[in-house]
Symmetry: C2
Subunit: 359 residues, 2 copies
């Protein structure tokens, strides 16, 4: 087992990465204050792993709340069912919530913990590669709104993150690839050594080589933790973690969060960000090709599905990085060097959008 630390003063917490960690009582119980524990999971994950987690939490009064599986359920209405359950079962302010599942479960459970009785502790047990390398770390929680992704939420840090790499054995190939999109992202935005390592090891990752996966997860969490420690509430730097996400969120929202996975939309979004960066003369065409080649080797899409350009422009206009009417984008000056800027020229953005979306 490896342990990384996210250093945020009073809100610091450990990230444990290893095999057979699911339901490890010694890892979980130091972070559980009172006797009440609510595990929030989904219909796909609960049958696979809920019993193991419950076994490790035998000394607590545990209750599981199982949600439907999918990004389309990451809504205020489904969030409300968590509150209904907590209050109906008399959970009090000393209760602890545990997120067992992928990014949707982690985001919703964290937001529920942030709001229930104005804040109770929560733990992350991410079971998808995407959640393990990205969404379970850093405290971004929330739900979607019909007009935009993650528009309602809180910065609320977990008390610990337990990443059991064995859970990846049940992850389907498409979900695995979607998670790799975020791993590749860290290489592109700030870690050229990771990018090069990925170019050589993408095959091992797709073949689920345990040590390759552990390395990719650890490097991703390290990158994420370093950025979050420097800028917890996204005053500036943290926005680079959103490479490809403005395009990606617009794609996901335009598709009603159905059909494409988040990581797939982000992959296409990163390729579009690279396209725009090349148009600006900031990124070498050869670097764009390396990015395209790596995404393709990972089995990820470069091009979004057919969607109307006007709808995408409308959705990008409500991105959280819009400030005073100007949309800031994460763009690239090289592999390992990202910038957040509104100075890209509307014409160049239009040209990129015209290439990938329908009139």
């Amino acid at each position: 087992m490896k342990t990384l630390q996210v250093d945020l003063g009073a809100r610091s917490y450990p990230i444990h990465i290893g095999r057979r960690l699911l339901g490890s009582e010694p890892l979980l119980s130091p972070h559980i204050v009172g006797p009440q524990v609510m595990i929030v999971s989904n219909e796909t994950i609960a049958p696979l792993y809920l019993d193991k987690v419950l076994a490790g939490l035998g000394k607590y009064q545990c209750h599981a709340h199982v949600l439907p599986d999918g990004e389309q359920y990451k809504t205020l209405d489904v969030l409300k069912t968590i509150f209904d359950e907590l209050l109906g079962r008399r959970f009090d302010r000393t209760a602890t919530l545990v997120a067992l599942g992928g990014g949707v479960i982690g985001d919703m459970t964290g937001f529920a913990a942030a709001c229930f009785q104005r804040g109770v502790p929560f733990l992350q047990i991410p079971t998808t590669l995407l959640a393990q390398v990205d969404s379970s770390v850093g405290g971004k929680t929330g739900v979607n709104h019909p007009l935009g992704k993650n528009m309602i939420g809180a910065f609320y840090q977990p008390r610990c993150v337990v990443i059991d790499t064995d859970t990846l054995s049940t992850l389907d190939d498409r979900q695995l690839r979607a998670g790799l999109a975020e791993v590749i992202k860290y290489g592109i935005i700030r870690d050229p050594a990771l990018f090069t390592w990925l170019e050589h090891n993408i095959g091992s990752l797709l073949a689920r080589d345990a040590s390759a996966l552990a390395h990719a997860i650890e490097q991703s969490c390290r990158n994420k933790a370093e950025v979050v420690v420097l800028d917890e509430r996204e005053g500036g730097l943290r926005a680079i973690l959103n490479l490809g996400h403005t395009f990606g969120h617009a794609i996901e929202t335009a598709m009603d969060y159905q059909g494409w996975l988040h990581g797939e939309a982000v992959a296409a979004g990163m390729y579009m960000a690279a396209d725009l960066s090349v148009r600006l003369g900031w990124l070498a065409a050869s670097d764009q090709k390396r990015i395209a080649a790596l995404l393709e080797k990972a089995g990820l899409p470069l091009v979004p599905p057919p969607l109307p350009r006007d709808r995408i422009i409308e959705l990008m206009a409500v991105d959280k990085k819009v400030q005073q009417g100007r949309l800031r984008l994460v763009l690239l000056k090289g592999i390992g060097e990202a910038v957040v800027t509104a100075d890209y020229g509307a014409d160049h953005l239009r040209a990129t959008l015209a290439t990938y979306f329908e009139a």
Copy 2:
């Protein structure tokens, strides 16, 4: 104008108290970051004061969102309309929310600001005595749940509080008296000098004497700020501000937040807390009489409406001060001395409840 400061480090903010402050541009604009301002108000207050506030914010892109008036609308569903409005009008992360109204408007606007795009600034312009002396200060925000009051929310501080005492001229007598319940509360829990002053000046307050009201508001905000600075997130001490609120919230919830005002329920709740404290031998009967006399002079109820005891017990069991199955209550050892304790003996509590609620 008097200005108090709530000292919370990076989250410190001023409370301005005085006449003709509504829509004062010099007081508001230092706390508004971007060009977009959303004023949230209700159907009662907006026709009276919205124009004045808009006049002071002429240089911003202002939009007003007017909610129905009443505690029964302090729900997740109504909160959602604020998000719909913000996103529909393309409000971004640099937007500022302004709460113009009573406690319900302040709590909901603050919670909306805490959650919108994971947090935007908000200002409080409280227009009821209750909001001016209590709910606008201290950062408790949230909404009710059918199973309990304020169960979903956040600790989220405003950037400033502007209390224009002239707004009390349009407050009806019943609302004025309800606000006095919270003023009296500060006297009972920690300020015997204020309690004595109230015994002598309650008539002037009911007659809306401007200087008496200003004094009561200032002393209340000072007490509130002192407690909040010592214990922002209610780890301990802050709970004394809930004197009468466990009984009161149960009454309000049992009545579906209709019929009685919050301050009225708190008044009856404080009298019940005094009753229980006398049963325990902690409070002198003569002090209970002084409390009863002051509440009565203020025109506040001592006794709740007829409600089934079982329902009240059920509702008290989900109070936020329940820890590990034990309900902590704010009780009295004297006028000016409150304690938060679970050591009151279930029999004594049953005796108090039997006195005030129906079998």
